[in-house]
Symmetry: D2
Subunit: 335 residues, 4 copies
């Protein structure tokens, strides 16, 4: 951490500030330039409140040099983490690529079984399905809840696909015992109480980036889970909120290589939520595969026009089949 | 709701779509123009999935005409809601203006009592203090929790100021029994499970806008609480995330008159979090008072340079005193 | 265009508004619902000021149904435009893909010739080089100007590569007579006076999206050029400004398929400016190729560490060579 | 400027980098910490390309300590600049507050004279009126151009109000000889060729912030004008582009105190363009006056419903009169 002092600060004030830093167990390095005087802080600065130092009368600005995330940081863990899911040990990361597919929400036994069989046949290696649904309106369908999870488990049993489902409240964790990957949705990505509880589990977590979350914040949220001892985390970029309204969100595709540089955790793309339009899902999936994503999560519905949610962004099984084939080809091309 | 059809749609397809709308209990109005054909939907369209209709082959676009929020909507409740807090019935809205002040977090008995007395003397009418703190880093101070609430209650008893504190998880609701206003923070503004639980209470809720929440989404979140029967909601604009980095967030000051138009609920401003800098808190408070806000929530600390959080944006009691006096003058000027 | 009327509007006011629309040469269609009354306008509504109608006392909101761009609109020109550049008729669009490469700015004869030869050898089909440079600071290198253009022309003569260079002011148009493609930079994308002048030329224009330009605005700017009779336009997505600071801008990769739907003009990607980091240029180029872009424009410098501008985002010729080979493979995979 | 080196950099590489900095006339200060090694650069670092240094193999990141703007920087010019306009020497800044009012565009002699008289009577001290109009669509009214300027001058002669009008192209500068303040619109705020030409004039410039311009960029654009010797600049915040669509733009009200801290130049607010809605203009004007703005620029039209542009955001003279009275009261309250 670097503290830049205001012009005109006298030596006594500088000495006093340096003494204060020393009292916090830090060493300092003083650099006095023509226009600016800088104090470099050496030691563990993660506990220092940068905003507070910046508010001191003689301080002009403070700049952090080291990132506040440790466990998620590639600097301290150069090797890529491989997250293994389910009994079949389906792998994400370090060259392992998976496609998660399934409906936005579980609607009925027939629906989830039909879709599960179809996406498996087309090449999906995990099944997704929402049982607890975060909806902007209290008047919209809120999911089948426990019953939905039961149906998902039935689909898992029949097809052998590990399952992914979203958790919205810590009190429902017991219901997710046999769910293979617990998803944290974009709206809960800074629900820290929930993240802490997930840190206690020993089960892979699919952590979605918040709609206005920075990459650093995403890694700090991963850090919350990892601080509890659970380091099986799959990060997911799902579109961010910008001024552009032609698409529902803006897919931040550069998050893939950028996150790969910042962290050792696997990174997947959700093109369905990023664009909100079924016809953009394929091109965005191909882009993700081309630039090194570790996987995709895609909404597929047997009858999108009658889906209870997100029908507009859901592919039919046939469309998904075409997509999966093309994704394979692109992955071979960049291998 | 309006469905605009694609060019070249034939009459049979139009008839079939109209029939489908009728089967959903809606009436329709067909308008065939030179370039576009439009079907207007008449009746209760809140249950219609606009995205889904838009994804139909013959539909070019869909536009909602009526807002999806009902209980929070001023159209259906023209009179401004007055939220009354505590036994003293401190009022927000319809011309009633209040200043909530206090530290970011409760740190000790002495600290909270000192600040409580000071802000009361300066004109604050409610006391704020965090006991459960949402922190970006798992390694930062997470609040005094239950003990912090106890100290807040002690400060309330001594000063008579009603208290406001943030709740992060529904399981802690019992601890908030004697807290006068429960705050929902920006990061939880779409934690729908939490909002539903708050709808069951009969206690005022201070609902902060999410860092990237639209005004409509804020009202939909209020709607979640109101749908449960609790209509004692104070909305709070606290800065939104934009590309500008000179200030921590960008205070959306036009949200005050805009929300007053959209909803009957009171609207207050949090200049401390909006700017992140103590020296900007006064000018932003004056701006808020000038444009019709129903109150302010301001961070005040007896010793900002040693605060455990948000010291950089906290005022001293002396600074707060000056601010409160000026705010009064501005309110008189616009009365 | 649709005008939604306020509740409680009486029949006389409605009749009077309808009469006013008729006086403007429009036909109307009235739809009276339970909660809302809507007037649909039929005819040429491009001249109607939507904001003005919306400000009328009895009008609640106005929604445009048809896009304000005509010549750039795919609806009226279903076939993709092929832009042909130079005597060699290098083609962009409708399946034709080109890579433009070269330095941010022309710095010397040796530099531009070295780079030109290298990028040609690696597979670039056009040469870029800045002679007039838009720099945020007036104290930064502003380009070699006319002399830079001369050197570019020399490189064109030797290598046969058509050249692309940025124009910042209409008064310099005569200097660009032998430049094959005139580039309009992000900062000038709504410099309407300049766009009008370019509409008078019969030369391809590379139009970059503004840093906060919507896709609609980009097409309106193209419309300015096309309205003058010049329809040889190549659109370029080069990153937009968002809240995320990990990358310089956020590459809006979904603009590729979205623009292909909205317009018949070719769309290329500039991964260098979008990310600002050389090491992200390759993955973003592969993503662009995978999702159907019609080309790339990439900064290449023989000695990035001594470049006069944008060294941080420039590839070496060797890196560019690797990139070009991979891009080819991805294009084959998605063909 | 500070260069943070990557972990594992050996001493020889460090020495070589230090030597390179010395060769550029800079002195250095080396700080070697537990986890990071930092080189501080001392001397004139404005010419150093931070991005380039950051791209070096051994450099992790680079942070600028001093701002790149000098002439506009309050650090080097602590006293507030007072901009004096016209023969009457109407003053902006250092406590001097002015209201500029008038129509979006000059439409006819009668219109501009009527509005000029009305706004003068209501307390406006300058008259605005557009003759050259930047319109998103090439098919919209583009202004009366030279004829419009003539009519403005006539209104100036009759009322004595100094006039403000927008310039879109340097070639029209001669037409603006008798215009008192030349406005640079948001879309041209980084039209550097135009800014350079304005630097040659000795006439006040009203420089609007770009729709996605940072405060630093705004000051760099002011620096372009000042570098030419013209330091009579009035800065104008007019709303920025964010994700929120309830208002046309988001008024960044905190830009007022923030700019006052960063620069000595006066800062005014344009509430008309910021919100796009006439009914929000008054509350935003009061907010601006309360937080210390040096003036306002407001659109007023004698017949908003028939205005050729921006009718929706224009006040009637009566509404403007009420606003001006309230603004006075707020200014007195905060004096």
């Amino acid at each position: 951490m670097i503290a830049v002092l205001k012009q005109g600060t006298d030596q006594q004030q500088i000495d006093s500030l340096i003494e204060w830093f020393h009292s916090q167990g830090l060493r300092t390095n003083l650099s006095q330039g023509d226009e600016v005087t800088i104090i470099g802080l050496i030691g563990d600065t993660t506990k220092v409140d940068a905003d507070l130092v910046e508010s001191l009368d003689i301080v002009e600005s403070v700049k952090r040099i080291t990132e506040p995330f440790k466990r998620a940081n590639r600097k301290f863990h150069p090797d890529s983490t491989v997250v293994e899911v389910g009994d079949a040990k389906v792998k994400f990361g370090a060259g392992n690529f998976q496609i998660i597919a399934g409906p936005c929400s579980v609607e009925s036994r027939e629906q989830i079984l039909t879709v599960a069989r179809a996406v498996k046949a087309a090449g999906a290696t995990l099944l997704r399905g929402g049982a607890f649904k975060p909806r902007t309106s209290p008047y919209d369908f809120q999911g089948m809840k426990a019953e939905g999870l039961e149906l998902l488990l039935e689909a898992k049993k029949e097809t052998g696909l590990p399952i992914v489902s979203e958790l919205m409240s810590a009190e429902n964790i017991p219901l997710f015992e046999n769910v293979d990957v617990i998803q944290v949705g974009a709206r809960n990505f800074q629900n820290f109480e929930l993240l802490k509880e997930l840190g206690e589990l020993r089960k892979p977590i699919l952590l979605k980036r918040g709609i206005a979350g920075t990459l650093k914040e995403l890694l700090m949220s991963a850090e919350y889970i990892m601080a509890g001892g659970n380091d099986q985390i799959i990060l997911c970029e799902r579109g961010i909120r910008t001024y552009e309204t032609a698409t529902r969100n803006t897919l931040d595709i550069s998050a893939v290589p950028m996150l790969h540089e910042m962290t050792h955790l696997p990174v997947i793309i959700d093109p369905s939520h990023a664009t909100g339009m079924a016809r953009l899902v394929e091109p965005m999936s191909l882009a993700a595969a081309a630039c090194g994503a570790d996987g995709l999560i895609i909404e597929v519905h047997n009858d999108p026009q009658h889906a209870k949610c997100d029908g507009a962004q859901s592919l039919t099984p046939e469309q998904f089949n075409v997509l999966a084939t093309k994704v394979c080809k692109v992955r071979e091309a960049v291998a």
